[in-house]
């Protein structure tokens, strides 16, 4: 699925300068615990989270993730967007709930990309 499709499905706004909407991603990982992202996520995933801090971007960077989707009713602080631009990570913001966001993406073909040990 292209990042542009994700943006449209979620009615999301793009907050960074560096978003390649033609980029393909094959899975998504959703968590507010960066510990779990670091342990289990795939590098071709996008990260969906309701946690707003700089370490979300650092975590995505270490994992090689190209896009972070923030869930929430408020905008992230400018420092977070500045860091995302520096790290060349696309940041989107959707007002949809976490449940709706994941449901929409899953229904439209994005998989969980979860390692097999978590699926047992």
């Amino acid at each position: 699925m292209k990042l542009g499709d994700i943006k449209d499905l979620l009615h999301a706004s793009v907050l960074t300068n560096c978003c390649d909407l033609d980029m393909d991603v094959d899975s998504a990982f959703c968590s507010d615990m960066m510990s779990n992202v670091l342990a289990y996520a795939n590098d071709k995933s996008i990260l969906i989270t309701g946690l707003y801090n700089a370490q979300v971007l650092r975590t995505a960077d270490m994992m090689g993730m190209a896009c972070v989707v923030f869930i929430g009713r408020r905008d992230p602080d400018p420092e977070i967007i500045e860091l995302a631009n520096e790290l060349e990570i696309c940041v989107m913001l959707t007002r949809s709930s976490m449940f709706t966001t994941c449901g929409l993406l899953f229904y439209n073909g994005l998989n969980g990309g979860v390692p097999s040990e978590l699926q047992r």
Partner: protein, 143 residues
């Protein structure tokens, strides 16, 4: 660069500086990418070092990270200044955590850090003394 030569870098990690946590790991990641190191090795290094860097900030009183990059591997030595780990075997178990609620609210402290550092390392060593500090040494080979 001959077999025994390395590029050496040292990073100082400050206690409670959560905002800048990960900047050392980002720097090492960028250096390895510029050196055209295999992408999967870069990812393992990034994750292992970042977990360690976070640990030094949220569990310890800061410290130093010494990084040596050789032709075929990277060696990262993370040395903090306390408080040390009383039971290393327990600390290495997935899910074991002593992190306070404020750390968990920041997205860390799930008890995955040390096990994830070991999982991403080809060689892993940890030594700790209560009241003195902890030293973790990780080696990752470039395949």
């Amino acid at each position: 660069m001959s077999c025994n030569d390395s590029l050496h870098f040292q990073y100082v990690v400050s206690k409670d500086d959560f905002t800048h946590a990960g900047s050392a790991s980002s720097d090492v990641k960028n250096k390895l990418k510029k050196m055209n190191v295999d992408a999967s090795a870069v990812r393992k290094v990034s994750i292992a070092m970042y977990e360690g860097e976070i640990n030094m900030i949220i569990h310890a009183y800061g410290g130093t990270i010494d990084v040596d990059i050789y032709e075929d591997r990277i060696v990262m030595c993370l040395k903090d200044t306390g408080p040390g780990i009383a039971n290393i075997e327990e600390a290495m178990q997935e899910g074991f955590s002593t992190a306070p609620a404020d750390v968990i609210n920041l997205g860390f402290g799930a008890g995955m850090g040390l096990p994830n550092m070991r999982a991403n390392s080809d060689e892993f060593n940890i030594e700790s003394e209560v009241g003195v500090g902890t030293t973790v040494t990780m080696t990752i080979y470039f395949t």
